[in-house]
């Protein structure tokens, strides 16, 4: 335990190196910009910037990605507040109260509240990252072939969560991903499968597929829409601060949203967009000023923003300790780990990798402070990005997609793969299929295949090996919950949204 604490402490010292600090500032600022831009998600931001981290050391690279993640989740609130356009789905609930505050001429106060709550939500989420993650990491050696098989099945249940609109379409997307994941050399016997050339020996490059499916398809979608002027952000005139009473008012809201956000974050398949609605709805239920809801409540903004940023730390736990990305952002982050040559999962906490992992954690803590600082300094400026026309955005994102995929191997094939996936992604999104499910299946498919085939090799074909350990059974139960919880969550989210809308006029009448 003492040893772990000292590694944690050293993590802070390493995180404070000039290059890391510089990357935190840059990453956070970039994340906020990306989050602020409607249509550019946190996942896209992380995927787009991923290639730039290849040349960095593992911890610095992870800190940049973490900074972009946190920044983007907060950044989404800026456009949500100013022009009622959530920059990311995670800020959907923020738009309800935030935009009302802007209409009341309190845009500055709303932005401050969002920034302040995001800071606390993110900072508190680091507590669970620090103290629950190592616990899970103790399981390292319990995970063998059979357990890895169940782990990947559990990961695949996220598809049910990310495709709440249509489970069938989600499963179709997942099946496509699994099929694509079989390309390359067979992991058990070394046989060539669907290989057109030796380029595909290691399978489809996940990063290329990711950039194509997430970013390039977005360019196509933007390009398809008519290039038009967006609504202008209102001029920010009021003071960007909260009084002491207002801070005291939102304190309990932030604490509740932290717990909600963290739990949702740990649950794979849930995510920030659900957390913000739950955080918002809980803040309303507990509020003493229900009459303000629907007319610009700082508690509503705080509840939503603290919850979605609390998800960040929570969602890293299954990614880093189990190697299971809970949502699309952490799926990209996991891709980043693999590219750095680190196998995500319990190995990250062994003696060799723990210093790097804790440097990343410390960086994650420090990033929250930079997010607060940059958020407060730059809110007025950030909002300007939302006013850019697509005519400027399209070429910038296109260049980043091409450069990003080429930078992986300096191989033109990577660009071809990226573009192919861009077209696939575009078509999938046009038909409401789920691109995140493809990426999940592409990452988890080989893990599951290797686990199942190796387990059956060991037992010489006896399937009982799959049900022979306690860990396997825990994972089987989690699989079942993983399938059921998003359906339940989806209902809760819809109910919360419905309640939030319905109760506003009702409340004002009662008062």
């Amino acid at each position: 335990m003492l040893e772990t604490l000292s590694v944690m402490g050293q993590g802070f010292i390493s995180a404070l190196s000039p290059i890391n600090l510089l990357m935190m500032i840059g990453g956070t600022a970039l994340g906020i910009m990306i989050g602020c831009l409607p249509g550019l998600s946190a996942a896209m931001g992380v995927a787009l910037m991923l290639p730039l981290t290849f040349t960095m050391s593992a911890d610095t690279g992870l800190i940049v990605l973490g900074a972009i993640y946190c920044g983007a989740i907060f950044g989404g609130s800026i456009s949500a507040i100013l022009i009622h356009t959530p920059g990311t789905p995670a800020s959907a609930a923020t738009a309800i109260e935030g935009y009302q505050m802007t209409l009341n001429g309190q845009a500055g106060k709303a932005l401050f509240t969002a920034c302040y709550s995001s800071f606390w939500g993110g900072l508190l989420s680091c507590i669970s990252l620090y103290f629950f993650a190592p616990l899970l990491a103790q399981l390292t050696l319990k995970f063998q072939s059979a357990e890895y098989f169940w782990l990947s099945i559990f990961g695949l249940t996220i598809i049910a969560g990310v495709s709440s609109k249509s489970i069938v379409k989600g499963l179709m997307s997942g099946a496509l991903g699994l099929l694509l994941s079989t390309i390359g050399l067979d992991p058990v016997s070394g046989t060539k499968r669907f290989m057109l050339s030796s380029y595909f020996a290691e399978g489809i490059n996940t990063t290329c597929a990711l950039i194509g499916l997430f970013s390039m398809s977005q360019v196509f979608i933007l390009a398809e829409a008519k290039i038009k002027e967006r609504a202008k952000a209102a001029k920010v005139t009021d003071k960007m601060s909260l009084t002491r009473e207002e801070r005291r008012l939102i304190r309990p809201t932030i604490l509740r949203s932290w717990i909600i956000g963290n739990l949702i974050g740990i649950l794979p398949g849930a995510g920030a967009s659900i957390a913000c609605f739950l955080g918002y709805n809980t803040s309303r239920q507990f509020s003493k000023h229900k009459e303000q809801y629907g007319h610009g409540s700082i508690e509503g903004v705080a509840g939503s923003e603290a919850a979605n940023n609390a998800v960040t730390g929570g969602s890293l736990i299954p990614t880093l300790t189990l190697g299971i990305p809970g949502e699309s952002v952490t799926a990209v982050l996991m891709g980043g780990l693999i590219i750095q040559g680190l196998s995500p999962g319990p190995q990250l906490f062994n003696a060799q990798n723990a210093p790097m992992t804790y440097t990343f954690f410390a960086g994650f803590v420090l990033v929250q402070f930079f997010m607060l600082g940059i958020g407060l300094l730059g809110c007025r400026g950030f909002a300007q990005i939302s006013r850019l026309s697509d005519a400027i955005l399209i070429p910038v994102v296109t260049v980043l997609c091409f450069v990003g995929s080429y930078a992986i191997h300096k191989n033109i094939m990577d660009i071809i793969v990226m573009l192919s996936f861009g077209i696939i992604g575009y078509l999938m999104r046009r038909f409401d299929l789920n691109t995140a499910a493809v990426v999940l299946a592409l990452i988890l498919g080989p893990i599951g295949e290797k686990g199942l085939r190796n387990a059956l090799r060991i037992s010489q074909g006896d399937p009982r090996i799959l049900f022979s350990s306690a860990v396997s059974w825990v994972l089987i139960v989690l699989c079942i919950l993983g399938i059921l919880s998003p359906i339940l969550m989806n209902r809760l989210e819809k109910k919360a949204e419905k309640d939030a809308k319905e109760n506003v006029p009702a409340d004002s009448e009662i008062e």
Binding site: L30, M33, P51, L52, F54, T55, A58, T140, L141, K142, F143, Q144, S145, L185, D186, P187, V188, S189, G190, K192, S198, Y199, F200, A201, E202, N205, I339, Q340, G341, S343, Q347, A351, Q352, G381, Q384, I385, R387, L388, I392, L393, V396, V399, L400, V403, G404, Y406, A407, H409, K410, N411, K450, N454, R457, I458, Q460
Partner: protein, 324 residues
């Protein structure tokens, strides 16, 4: 303001483009004894930060003094190494591009036909690093504590012992196969894809034994026990561990080698120049201090060529009916 933001985004694009930099220049060579007249490109077929990349960068740093030019490491990964080796084979044979080939993975890639190159597509310069394979079990293993007991147990429980490997037909699978074949027992191989998972499998009591390289267990002195080494003579760092040959099993050296090669067709002057430069580098005390963590093993061009051919014949032998 809007212009400023657009400018910022443009800067992002520039930054991304700048990250693609690092090209190499190839220039005409003059007559007479060869000396590179520009930066030398050194291809590593694995990504930056990989074991081969790390040792290559240390070598490159100290070799610059003897080569007289900057050495640029070019990581060309993918295709289980075949992308990099294909690029090296296709490079201009002007002495400005050299690279590492990794035995026996390189030989496996030829057997699996992952590239169009063969061993004669390369002109060997020298060997850089050699890692010897070893047979390991858990330190707390009670069923067998010596290699002979392991073999006896394997024979008594034919086809029951489990060995994790670092991948199908990868170096440690070749080792396990050579050991079991020569000792005359059957086992189940469990390909894990990489050495750390291979060792996790052993420690997690899924596998009963496995074959790894000496450097892989440097931080595991208390959790694993070495039963035998794949060498002709006992290793200096583990004098108590017998060789497999001593006990009557596989008697040749087995492990992995990182050889430096040029594309076939380079002049003898080029080979002689680099052979001499790397020999001096690998004898440089400053280099030896920096390279203390791995086993530098200089071999001249002729010996390296023989090693590559011997490993090729061995791997092809394995492929024909040796696997299952």
């Amino acid at each position: 303001m809007k212009k400023a933001v657009t400018f910022l985004l443009a800067m992002c694009m520039m930054l991304a483009l700048a990250a693609c930099g690092g090209g190499s220049s190839s220039q005409q060579e003059a007559d007479g004894p060869f000396a590179p007249n520009g930066p030398v490109t050194m291809i590593v077929a694995y990504k930056a930060g990989n074991g081969t990349d790390n040792t290559a960068r240390i070598l490159a740093k100290y070799a610059e003094k003897y080569i007289g030019q900057t050495i640029v490491i070019d990581n060309v990964d993918g295709g289980s190494g075949s992308m990099g080796w294909s690029k090296l084979a296709d490079s201009k044979a002007d002495g400005m591009t050299i690279g590492f080939i990794n035995l026996p993975n390189f030989n496996s890639s030829i057997v699996k036909e992952l590239g169009t190159y063969k061993t004669d597509s390369f002109a060997p310069i020298c060997n850089h690093v050699t890692e010897t394979s070893i047979v390991v079990v858990r330190a707390d293993e009670t069923r067998f504590t010596t290699l002979e007991e392991l073999v006896a147990y394997g024979k008594a429980n034919d086809g029951k012992l489990i060995a994790s490997t670092n991948g199908a037909q990868a170096s440690n699978h070749i080792g396990a196969q050579a050991f079991a074949n020569s000792a005359g027992f059957k086992y189940i191989d469990v390909p894990k894809g990489n050495t750390s998972e291979e060792l996790t499998s052993l420690l997690g009591k899924e596998a009963d034994f496995c074959v790894v390289k000496v450097a892989d267990i440097s931080a595991m002195a208390e959790s694993v026990k070495v039963l035998g080494v794949f060498a002709k003579e006992r290793l200096a760092e583990m004098p108590d561990v017998p060789t497999l040959g001593e006990l009557g099993y596989y008697e040749d050296w087995l492990g992995s080698s990182r050889c430096i090669c040029a594309p076939a067709g380079v002049s003898d002057e080029v080979i002689a120049f680099y052979e001499e430069a790397f020999k001096k580098t690998m004898e440089d005390p400053e280099y030896l201090e920096a390279a203390a963590s791995f086993a530098t093993d200089y071999k001249n061009a002729a010996d390296t060529a023989a090693l590559i051919e011997q490993q090729q014949a061995f791997t092809e032998g394995l492929a024909s009916g040796f696997w299952y």
